[in-house]
């Protein structure tokens, strides 16, 4: 079992993409050969202009999209075109993923949405509503809501929350199972400054305390530089630079976004 060993090894490779290419429907190529290696415990910020392929890359990492070419292994599991659903599942069970866009089940309560985070675990049919879930899961879900300061809204329907609140529910859902790898697509985009800061600090704390690996995108350069140990910039489907966050210069950023 290669992943068992990699779990123990502190510096093991969590994400290993080589010459990764991805095009939608065989049209314009979005990712044109991306090489990215992330080792356990790192906090990586992915930055780039709108439409440069950040979300696409993140989704490929857990097999939500099949890659078109190149090779990709996440936590030791190879994820190539269509093959091996078992590997995909293994990856996903150890990953927390926060989507960029709305992705809650709107007719369920906030608490149920967070309990959904346990889907995939044993007995997961009980995760589809908070009323059925085991007590331990319910308790853990409330704690996760606490972490994003929404426990008082636990029984509201998900679609009666404000945009930022919904985003925080999605974050709680990703955290409820304490993943090994946390991937967050613009987690702080619709959060107010304080909440954004809280969430990013929470992420950082989890990484330090539990050895979780963090990969997030952000359009807030301050967040990227503050909370990541390493910044990767995408441009034109390729990696423009990949530096530790303290070495990123303003001109690097200018290059990243100037069309």
């Amino acid at each position: 079992m290669p992943e068992a060993s990699s779990q123990c090894d502190g510096s093991s490779v969590v994400v290993d993409a080589q010459r990764l290419r991805k095009s939608y429907d065989n049209r314009l190529e979005v990712l044109k050969g991306v090489d990215l290696k992330i080792t356990s415990g790192e906090r990586v910020a992915l930055i780039g202009a709108n439409g440069c392929g950040k979300s696409t890359l993140l989704r490929c990492l857990i097999g939500l999209h099949d890659i078109s070419d190149g090779s990709l292994a996440t936590m030791g599991h190879t994820l190539t075109a269509g093959r091996n659903p078992a590997a995909r599942r293994q990856v996903r069970l150890q990953t927390g993923f926060v989507f960029q866009k709305h992705c809650l089940v709107r007719r369920r309560t906030v608490l149920s949405n967070v309990v959904h985070g346990f889907f995939g675990d044993a007995g997961s049919w009980r995760a589809h509503a908070h009323g059925l879930a085991p007590a331990a899961w319910r308790k853990r879900a409330m704690e996760a809501l606490e972490e994003v300061r929404l426990s008082d809204r636990a029984l509201s329907r998900a679609d009666t929350l404000s945009g930022g609140q919904q985003q925080r529910v999605a974050i709680a859902r990703a955290l409820v199972r304490r993943p090994r790898l946390l991937i967050a697509d613009e987690p702080a985009a619709s959060l107010d400054p304080l909440s954004g800061q809280n969430v990013m600090e929470l992420f950082t704390r989890l990484c330090t305390d539990h050895g979780i690996t963090l990969l997030f995108t952000s359009h807030d350069m301050e967040h990227a530089l503050t909370y990541a140990s390493r910044v990767v910039a995408l441009r034109n489907g390729r990696i423009l630079f990949d530096k530790t966050s303290d070495t990123v210069s303003p001109s690097d950023l200018k290059d990243t976004f100037d069309g």
Binding site: R106, R107, A127
Partner: protein, 266 residues
């Protein structure tokens, strides 16, 4: 690139020649046939008196207490069988619809087998089901229930599958990203999203089972539909109009329940 930016795209962009040919052909077939088989306004106007006359002969509905009582009993009988038949049918349709839904089904390409199955259930006429079930369980309410079950699966299986295929994709993807299996996605994301649509199809199936005038009569389970058919066959139009009104009241009541349930779920 800088050049092309200023060009406003052509109006027809996106429509291929093939689409165009298919559309025109279809329109031609329909319009061509229309001359032969669709009514002309003149015909309709000329026929209006005949229509009025016919409706006049259905009025007033027969409201004799004896008759009403018999109808009430029949309605209850019918409703009971329809309710059980539709309930069983709906319960079976949920997994069938799931297995048949493209993109949601755990069978992948195999979903087509279940699509075909529901199509088959619809295609085989009620009379054949009646024959099969009478041969199996004999005449009566049980065979009637089974016929309704089959009808319901044929209908709900298709519409449940359709609803599942059209369910919002983002929440499903979100659960998939957590590692949820097909069935977890079904229960967690798909069903809540399509709940209003399911309610509609399910209550329509129940309504259909109540209305269906032939099915129960076919297997000797009587029912209100049989009563209606008899009234027409014996030219007792006033009885028929009473029965139609009673069924209409039930249909309206069910429509009302559907509406309330859906408004609440939404």
């Amino acid at each position: 690139m800088a050049e092309s930016r200023h060009v406003v795209p052509s109006r027809l962009s996106g429509i291929t020649a093939l689409h165009f040919v298919i559309l025109v052909t279809l329109a031609a077939v329909i319009l061509g046939s229309m001359g032969q088989v669709a009514p002309s306004p003149g015909q309709l106007a000329a026929g209006a008196p005949g229509m009025v006359n016919l409706v006049g002969r259905m009025m007033p509905p027969n409201l004799e207490p004896d008759f009403l009582w018999r109808i009430a009993v029949r309605i209850l009988e019918t409703f009971q069988i329809a309710l059980v038949g539709a309930a069983i049918g709906i319960a079976i349709s949920l997994p069938v619809g799931w297995l048949a839904a493209r993109g949601v089904s755990p069978l992948g390409r195999g979903h087509y087998v279940f699509k075909m199955l529901t199509s088959l259930l619809r295609t085989v006429p009620d009379l054949v089901w009646a024959l099969l079930f009478v041969a199996t369980v004999g005449l009566g309410a049980v065979a009637g229930t089974m016929t309704i079950v089959v009808d319901t699966i044929g209908f709900c299986g298709r519409f449940f599958a359709e609803a599942m295929e059209d369910a919002e994709k983002e929440p499903q993807e979100a659960l998939a990203a957590i590692g949820a299996g097909r069935s977890a996605i079904l229960l967690g994301a798909v069903l809540p999203d399509i709940a209003p649509s399911l309610t509609n199809s399910a209550l329509f199936a129940l309504e259909k089972a109540v209305r269906s005038s032939v099915v129960l009569g076919l297997v000797g389970a009587g029912g209100i539909g049989q009563e209606l058919k008899v009234a027409f066959d014996l030219f007792q139009y006033r009885n028929a109009s009473t029965i139609i009104l009673v069924i209409f009241a039930i249909v309206l009541a069910m429509e009302f329940i559907t509406d309330r349930l859906r408004a609440r779920i939404q």
